[in-house]
């Protein structure tokens, strides 16, 4: 039987259904494998370089200096230690300045992994310890930004440093996936002289520890009870951070899109198998007449299908492997990580997935060949054996659920994916049904139009399937290529031209007047300075607050970190009070004004009593009102504002936001030279970076969604094949009646163009709807109706579907009018 199956496969290798089935398997498996390979490599990179990324086996970090006794305790435990300080600061070179992420290290750095610099002739050279005190190592991006080369001098605070190396690999950079500002590494000994760190400056102090696991565990037990509020002790790279969450979401999104492509491909597999079974009813009857058992017949075709499944899965995995290399390139700058080689897990999982859809989607239709009666050989007009709906639809559904579980691993996500896909399909199917129903009312003029319309309206099930499949692929692509870019644009346009483009932070109270005067003397509007004190929310209505009280990631993060608190006599007019009483701090009562969004997030209500801990002291007050803040205006604002007098003014630093034209950049350089502790953040550059990252991620998802579109077209081909016999017959009759090839081609072109128009329009509508909901509900943007979408969607639908449809039905045009039989 195996040999017979192999022979059949060779003979039928070029038959339409088998080619289509193979193509569907390849596309589906490739779609799945590309993302599996990539995410697996990313996860492997995370695991393999965990200690490296963490910077040690155990790391204590804090936003205040660490007590000396911890270092002593570490020394007594016999573990290695290294301390670092990281903070943001502006560096100046000549007339140019740039924001950088400063890392001040000691001689023991790095404890885990290697730090390497780009050396002579592009060969990286490994270095250990800190750069000499008069030198600095920088990322190449900084040189580019400042327009300088190695050997140039940088000013950092009050000190001048010579750029003596360009960083090639920084081992513990990994936890911060997205590089917002270029890194510079300096010797910790220069920090004092630089005068960069002032009271209230945002600095992260870190003690990295490495050694035998027992010693590390013992030290962890010793240190844990001594931790102060805001201190963190960790053995894992921070995956709960915003970037970690973004990474996770990016991966999930890629998986989701690849899964949609996979499901569509699976549908094409099922349809091809269905047609294959129908075409083999006669040969099954002949086998039965020749004495083959029903089981033998089923076994024959099953073996053939499985051989094909294996072939398709192997080729699909190979294609997927190549595709993930493209993904790696597309995301190179987003996840600044060198990925290790792929493991066998995604390979095996993708192969398994391919075989599963072969069995789940391909086998049930073939089962009817088992039911073929030998008498069919005499009576070919006997109806094909019917299969129960359970047998036809249950295995595919179970297969999908199983695969989603294998992929996503989360039940909720799986359910959401199924629901999302089902909802999209429902939308497309309902839309298609409605439009086809409307098309029925058109009285066609001429035979071409009549055939185009009846092709669609009388074979409506097939038409709806084609529209839904191609529409899904198009919709995903439109959403990514057009809507996402337009949303970004709307956001850009929503920012007023004179919105502040610079933030100045870490300003000391004593500097406020000087800076204001400096700017005023040079014709600038005097910026408003806001005091800022950092405090942690410790209780709401005397109930202690901890991360465990919250389910949402954002809320958990918020309560673990320190808030920036401010005080003011009068609230900004641009942030209106939405509930509660007017701001009357003069009353002397201790009151807070809370931003509405964060109040919802943390479950804070009007008149709740909030307790913050500021420099070890509790500060309590009543929530007097809730404010609405439009963060997109780039004005300085705060989640929580106190009445003046509640917060200790000695702890405060000041922040300001103002607009400075690019021609006035030298002013800023002068300002930073005079006040080295200032940190200025160029909002425009920051926004551009965020935009670049979003575009790169979008492009990678777009790339994966090409598989989805390809799978959509395969369903179209499969659907065309289902109607092929009927189409051939009709075409033959038309030819007999005197229709020319051109007329048949015109009828087919019109039919597929109509289908494409419907699919494209629905896809555009769907993409717009999703875009509108995102804009309105999530981003609160004014998303305009007028858009390229309405042109690109239908056009892509018409062109794509017509080309694919004509190619799939080329036999119908070429058919000879000579009747058979």
């Amino acid at each position: 039987m195996f040999r017979q199956a192999l022979r059949l496969l060779r003979r039928e290798a070029l038959s339409g259904e088998l080619r289509l089935l193979l193509a569907a398997l390849i596309i589906g498996v490739a779609s799945l494998a590309s993302v599996s390979f990539y995410t697996d490599r990313l996860a492997a990179a995370l695991d393999q370089r965990k200690a490296e990324w963490l910077g040690g086996d155990l790391v204590v970090s804090a936003n205040q200096p660490l007590p000396d006794r911890w270092r002593e305790q570490a020394e007594q435990s016999g573990v290695e230690q290294s301390s670092q300080m990281t903070f943001r600061s502006v560096v100046v070179s000549g007339e140019q300045m740039a924001l950088s992420e400063v890392k001040a290290v000691d001689a023991a750095y790095p404890l885990r992994g290697t730090l390497s610099l780009v050396g002579e002739g592009d060969q990286p050279r490994v270095v250990a310890g800190a750069p000499p005190p008069g030198e600095v190592w920088v990322e190449a991006m900084l040189l580019h930004k400042l327009g300088i080369e190695q050997g140039a001098t940088l000013q950092l605070g009050r000190v001048e440093l010579v750029v003596s190396g360009v960083i090639h690999n920084e081992p513990d950079r990994g936890t911060n996936f997205i590089n917002m500002a270029p890194r510079i590494i300096v010797n910790e000994q220069i920090i004092l002289a630089s005068e960069l760190i002032q009271p209230g400056s945002r600095v992260n102090y870190q003690l990295s520890l490495a050694g035998a696991s027992s010693a590390i565990a013992a030290l962890q037990r010793t240190l844990e009870p001594q931790l102060r509020n805001g201190d963190r002790l960790t053995t894992e790279p921070d995956r709960d951070s915003a970037t970690g969450t973004a990474l996770e979401r990016g991966q999930r999104f890629l998986q989701l899109v690849s899964m949609v492509g996979f499901v569509l491909a699976a549908v094409a597999v099922g349809m091809s198998a269905h047609r294959y079974a129908l075409r083999h009813l006669e040969s099954s009857a002949i086998y039965r007449c020749l004495g083959a058992s029903a089981r033998w017949v089923l076994g024959l075709y099953t073996t053939q299908l499985l051989l094909l499944g294996l072939l398709g899965s192997v080729v699909g995995v190979l294609l997927g492997y190549l595709a993930q290399l493209v993904l790696e390139q597309l995301l190179l700058n987003v996840f600044a990580v060198t990925l290790p080689a792929a493991t066998f897990t995604p390979l095996l999982l993708s192969l398994l997935a391919g075989l599963l859809i072969t069995i789940g989607f391909g086998l049930p239709p073939l089962y009817r060949l088992r039911e073929v009666r030998p008498v069919r050989i005499l009576r070919a007009d006997l109806p094909a054996p019917q299969l129960s709906a359970w047998l036809l639809y249950l295995p595919p559904l179970l297969t999908i659920v199983l695969l989603l579980l294998l992929q996503g691993g989360e039940l909720l996500l799986t359910a959401l994916v199924i629901a999302g896909v089902a909802l999209t399909m429902l939308f497309l199917v309902a839309g298609a049904l409605l439009l086809i129903h409307l098309a029925r009312r058109i009285e066609p003029r001429g035979v071409v139009m009549r055939f185009a319309l009846t092709g669609m309206t009388r074979r409506s099930t097939i038409a709806v399937l084609q529209i839904a499949a191609v529409g899904t692929g198009l919709m995903v692509l439109l959403l990514l290529s057009v809507v996402s870019r337009e949303l970004l644009q709307s956001w850009d346009e929503g920012i007023p031209d004179d919105a502040p483009n610079l933030f100045m932070i870490n300003v000391q109270q004593a500097q406020v007047a000087g800076i204001s005067d400096f700017l005023a003397a040079r014709g600038q509007r005097q910026p408003r300075f806001y005091p800022m004190v950092r405090g942690r929310l410790i209780a709401i209505n005397d109930q202690p607050v901890s991360a465990e009280n919250y389910r949402a990631d954002r809320a958990r993060r918020l309560v673990q970190r320190e808030f920036n608190l401010s005080w003011t006599e009068s609230l900004q007019a641009s942030s209106p009070i939405v509930s509660g009483e007017p701001w009357r701090p003069a009353s002397g009562e201790a009151i807070w004004s809370v931003e509405q969004g964060i109040a919802e997030e943390l479950g804070i209500r009007l008149n709740d009593r909030l307790t913050y801990e500021i420099a070890g002291q509790p500060v309590e007050g009543r929530v007097a009102n809730l404010r609405l803040v439009d963060w997109d205006t780039f004005q300085v604002n705060f989640f929580v504002i106190a009445a003046p007098g509640m917060l200790d003014p000695h702890q405060a630093t000041y922040i300001s936001a103002f607009h400075l034209d690019s021609a006035q950049q030298p002013l800023l350089v002068e300002l930073v030279r005079n006040h080295p502790n200032l940190t200025t953040i160029d909002v425009a550059a920051l926004l551009q970076q965020i935009r670049d990252i979003i575009l790169q991620v979008t492009r990678s998802v777009e790339f994966v969604s090409l598989f989805t579109l390809a799978a959509g077209f395969l369903v179209l081909f499969a659907a065309v094949q289902t109607s092929m016999d009927e189409r051939l017959r009709e075409s033959r009759i038309l030819r007999v009646l005197g229709a020319s090839r051109r007329e048949i081609l015109r009828a087919l072109t019109t039919e597929f163009a109509l289908l494409g128009l419907i699919a494209g329009t629905l896809a555009a509508l769907g993409a717009w709807l999703v875009g509108y909901l995102l804009a309105d509900q999530l981003f609160r943007l004014d998303y305009q109706l007028a858009s390229w979408l309405w042109l690109i969607g239908p056009l892509a639908g018409v062109v794509g579907m017509t080309a694919a449809g004509i190619w799939a039905t080329r036999r119908v045009v070429a058919v000879s009018p000579m009747m058979k039989g």
């Binding site: 009846t454 009927e726 009759i733 229709a739 009018p817 009747m819």
Partner: protein, 226 residues
């Protein structure tokens, strides 16, 4: 109206060349009716295909009026079929996705006739299907389907009508009615009828008969040639 000269059809089979038709020649005048008789496999349907321009002969030529079919390409022959030829088949060959009315309208629409619907409705009344205009073939009986096919065949007022075993798939009573209808319409329209059948009684209703056996015209049939 129809002239056939030395028509032959040779196909290549695994066992070597095979002659399906050999040296067929005859002429049919306008308004005449001709029956082509023969057993299964005699080559009747192949001949009909060649006469109607559905297939090409490997030898000889066929003229419809003054049009040499064998010198035209497929689209050229399609144009001849569209304007001059009507068909009735054993297996009806209706387009399943179209209604009875729409099926009859097809040849008229192919010719760009403006009153296609009106003319088709008249024809369907004529064949007694006035209550079946909007039924698709699947909802019609065999006899009804063949009536639709006859209405379609006459829709474009062809000068030449080919009928291939028109009663082959019908019971004898229905078959009789269909034949009566076919001849009546043919008489009304004055078309030339070429009918392929193995039914001698049916053949007898035609003006002339041509017998085919193993791809060749039999002598007695040949004698009838003018």
């Amino acid at each position: 109206m129809l002239e056939v000269q030395g028509v032959g059809k040779r196909v290549v089979s695994p066992e070597g060349p095979l002659d399906i038709l050999v040296d067929i020649s005859f002429t049919v005048q306008a308004g005449e009716s001709l029956a082509i008789l023969g057993a299964s496999g005699a080559g009747k349907s192949t001949l009909l295909g060649i006469l109607a321009g559905l297939d090409e002969p490997t030898h000889g030529g066929v003229w419809i009026g003054d049009q040499p079919l064998h010198q035209l390409d497929e689209d050229g022959r399609a144009a001849v079929r569209r304007t001059q030829v009507g068909f009735v088949f054993q297996s009806f060959n209706l387009i399943l996705s179209l209604t009875a009315l729409e099926n009859v309208m097809v040849p008229l629409e192919l010719q760009g006739v403006a009153q296609a619907r009106q003319r088709s409705e008249e024809l369907l009344y004529r064949v007694g299907l006035e209550r079946r205009l909007h039924h698709t073939p699947n909802h019609l009986s065999g006899g009804e389907q063949q009536r639709v096919a006859i209405a379609r065949a006459f829709a474009a007022s062809p000068r030449l009508l080919f009928a291939d075993e028109p009663t082959g798939n019908l019971d004898s009573a229905t078959g009789q009615k269909i034949i009566d209808l076919l001849f009546a319409l043919n008489r009304d329209q004055g078309a030339t009828l070429v009918l392929v059948t193995h039914d001698v009684e049916l053949a007898a209703r035609c003006g002339r008969r041509l017998q085919i056996e193993q791809g060749r015209m039999l002598p007695f049939a040949a004698e009838e040639q003018n």
